[in-house]
Amino acid sequence: MDNAVIDQAVLDRHGIKPDEYDKIRELIGREPNLLELGLFSVMWSEHCSYKSSRLHLKTLPTTGRRVVQGPGENAGAVDIGDGMCAVFKIESHNHPSFIEPYQGAATGVGGIIRDIFTMGARPIALLNALRFGSLETPLARRIFEGVVAGVGGYGNSIGIPTIGGEIYFDASYAGNPLVNVLCLGLAHKDDIIKGAAHGEGNPVFYVGAKTGRDGIHGATMASAEFDEKSAEKRPAVQVGDPFMEKLLMEACLEVMRTGAVLGIQDMGAAGLTCATSEMSSRGGTGMDVEVTRVPQRETGMIPYEIMLSESQERMLLVVDKGRERDVQEVFEKWDLHAEQIGTVTTSGRVRLFEHGVLVAEVPTKALTDEGPLYRRPMSEPSWQREVQKLPFDAIGASAAPQVAFMTLLASPVIASKRWAYQQYDHTVGTNTIARPGTAAGVTRIKGSSRGLAVSVDCNGRFCYLDPYRGAMLAVAESSRNVACVGAEPIGGTNNLNFGNPERPEIMWQLGESIRGIGDACRALDIPITGGNVSLYNETEGEAIYPTPVVGVVGLLDDATRTVTRQFRTDGASVVLLGDNLGELGGSEYLALMHETVAGPAPALDLSREQALQRLVIRIIRDGLIESAHDCAEGGLAVTLAESCFDTAFGVSADVKTATGAPAAFAINATLFGESASRIVVSVRDEHLNTVLASAHSAKVPATVIGKVGGDRITIAVDGARPIDVVKSDAEREWATSIEKKMSRPETRGK
């Protein structure tokens, strides 16, 4: 294949730009052969090289007193005391989930789990952030159905509890669903192991599933000479094997304890190519690999296919020479077979052999570090300022508050997500303190009093209206949710889901969002330890809402000192922490009742946000409050209702009219406005004064707005009673809305 001509067509199919090709020739000092071109094409792809986003990602705050591992490894790690680390990362599997929802989501879960145990950490929790088109469309329902089943099918089988997540439905995701999965793991600080290849002559082992033609990018494979060889038999769809992953996870964690493993990495994106080059690059070494030694599932596979395959559930290990046996034994115990496919060298090159014949030779750094880096042009979209205006006079009459209230509760964006999370095992592991749907995910750490809280959040609508502030709001909300269970935010990760970065306005959204995440994380003191970027999420030039999903991990000193959104005591006072500003911009109310997505995103003052979060963490630790729930989609009214759901209580509240909207909309703005930095807590009488006093000294506005009790939800605004419903009626709307929609007939047809 060396003599295969590399013409423009071949370059196009490999997605390599002319200047990139020149750089390749310069780096290796000659014309690459097709195999070498393949290596560059996957390692220099957007997904692996971050060529469009890297310059921006560099601006994120990645250090802090607790940070043990920042971006650059398979996952980030933060110190949580007692010599332990929380290891976590988020990954997307958006496009595969559109092609084949079940397998796409399942293999997405598999990939991020490997990233975590690759670090020497035992995965203890999963969360997911999902985006679909409107549930009124069969396509969205079909994808939603498949994705949820796939997420559950994989995680349940391995026995990692799914303890939280978030789901939005919006037309902008109709052709580009988002599946972002966060995995949290636990490791002893000293057990953390890196994905680096050290020590000349050390053997390189392959273990796990056999390599097939799965996931080899169709376009890069379409080259003429392959077509005859293996025409129809090249599906891009990867199929997950959770049982194999479970064996790999247990075996790898066990083999790492032998001390015979010097470096380990999973084969995810770009498979063997990425694992061999990244490991030797990190170790400042090189690697010789005999590709025919790679266990193969299909016949007639050529080196190109073997190196680019994205078959799932495969790991690469560098073993301390002389200790091969120790490693083999552990794998055999788990009915796995580790195959030596190569050795570590000092050549600084990845050299591939086929039956001893050198078929490719590339400097490792050329693949991993010298890739193209783009400062792509950015420009604010022409329509940006326009959509930030909220033309109250042009959106029709203000809706009847109670009708709006019931409609909002039934909106899939707000309604209970139990249809989804009841398909996820959240009790396995016996560490899950807060059940899904009641708070941020909270998991205790056995053998210590501590616990970890995790939340993933992003309101894409806000990011569409204002990517900078929207991203800050995402950080603030994720961190706020973690604070609402009493945990101190200690680290963050993020998954940047955007359209085509070659379009200046998309690149602008990306740049602004990263700037927003950076500023918010600096202000709230949350180091970013890793993340993922998913670009080109668009169909027919229609991009998704900019969706920078933010995951924040928080630490609880006492895992039992936590609260949920649920009221607990009859007659307790309901207190609103923060200001009710009545901002309707980008609200679910506007989208639902006025088919309008416009207006300024809610204001955010990060110092006030931090004061609020610190306050709520303190009063939860001091056992002063019964429940805490932040105000998000649907505003104060929905937050009050949700605080009653899954409890025996109703609520009666009376609030002042917010001034953020014109008189005609004042009441709905008061009830449904989505201002940031607000938390509704419930407090027993004996603690009320203490709570109000702490709020006062923390300079956090605190207003007693009502009492827990009764069997109705009654919300008055300056005496008038816009909302007065039987709680069980409201709860039924909220609880059953999604399953009602999902019980409709489905077809596979798009």
């Binding site: 089943a149 559950g152 099918g153 349940n156 089988s157 391995i158 026995g159 094997d241 959770p242 049982f243 194999m244 479970k246 064996l247 247990e250 115990k333 788990w334 009915d335 139990r418 999370y421 009841q422 398909q423 996820y424 095992d425 959240h426 009790t427 396995v428 592991g429 016996t430 899950t432 303190i433 059940r435 205790r444 056995k446 895992a559 039992t560």
Partner: protein, 248 residues
């Protein structure tokens, strides 16, 4: 007493059972690898939840061939108490240590939530500490918990009082605090998976082998939402200590 918790390659609630027995109840507990052939002096055996061999075929179908299962059968034949939880129940069915079989859940979806089960008989080593008709709130997490047996087997199960747990409606009063917690009624709505006659758990004729789909070992601490499952493990301890006092 000493619990043996069998570990199949795809077990995922093995550590949960171990934790409940050793850390919560303070008894001895040992993880026993499925390739082992002896139970090393265990007084009770727990087959834990999980997906023993991935269970793509039929849940528990492959696990029954594991070397340890021979030892488990012998232990059971000699009257030793064996409990199969979730996947463990499925393994016991496939191994023929309990009658019947599991079919996919009625709704074909995996179901993970808390349910209420009524203790039908307290004369097994796993319910000895329960009050008559006590109702327990326990988590379930399975895709194949839809219990089936042919009519003649069903008649036998009833005749021999072998149905030990049934899915029932929630009780008004939480089961553990004083009140017997009646009000837990059998209804289709209370049946999470379509099991015949709301069956959540059964025992063998000798009553020393019990299988159930819900996870008592995941409900032994209030911090986890329910401690109702603790009574199941406590029953084993109770039975064991009583045996000792009788024979000793």
């Amino acid at each position: 007493m000493k619990f043996a918790v069998v570990v199949f390659p795809g077990s995922n609630s093995d550590r949960d059972a171990w934790h409940a027995a050793s850390q919560v109840l303070g008894e001895q507990a040992e993880l026993v690898w499925h390739k082992d052939t002896a139970l090393s002096g265990a007084d009770a055996v727990i087959l834990p939840g999980g997906f023993a061999y991935g269970d793509y075929l039929r849940t528990g179908a492959i696990a029954r061939f594991s070397p340890i299962m021979a030892a488990v059968s012998r232990f059971a034949e000699r009257g030793g108490p064996v409990i199969g939880i979730c996947n463990g129940f499925q393994v016991l069915l496939e191994a023929g240590l309990l009658p019947g079989a599991m079919v996919r859940n009625r709704g074909i979806k995996f179901v993970s939530r808390h349910v209420h089960v009524r203790v039908e008989h307290s004369d097994t080593p796993f319910t000895a500490a329960c009050r008559p008709n006590e109702v327990l709130e326990l988590p379930i997490a399975h895709g194949e918990g839809n219990y089936f047996a042919d009519p003649s087997t069903m008649t036998e199960l009833d005749a021999n009082r072998q149905v030990i747990f049934r899915y029932v409606t929630p009780t008004t009063s939480r089961s553990r605090d004083g009140d017997p917690g009646e009000g837990g009624d059998i209804s289709d709505a209370a049946n999470p998976n379509g099991s015949l006659n709301n069956i959540a758990g059964i025992c063998n004729r000798a009553r020393n082998v019990v299988g159930l789909m819900p996870h008592p070992e995941r409900a032994c601490e209030l911090a986890l939402g329910s401690a109702d499952g603790r009574v199941v493990l406590q029953s084993m301890v109770k039975t064991f200590t009583e045996r000792l006092t009788h024979h000793g």
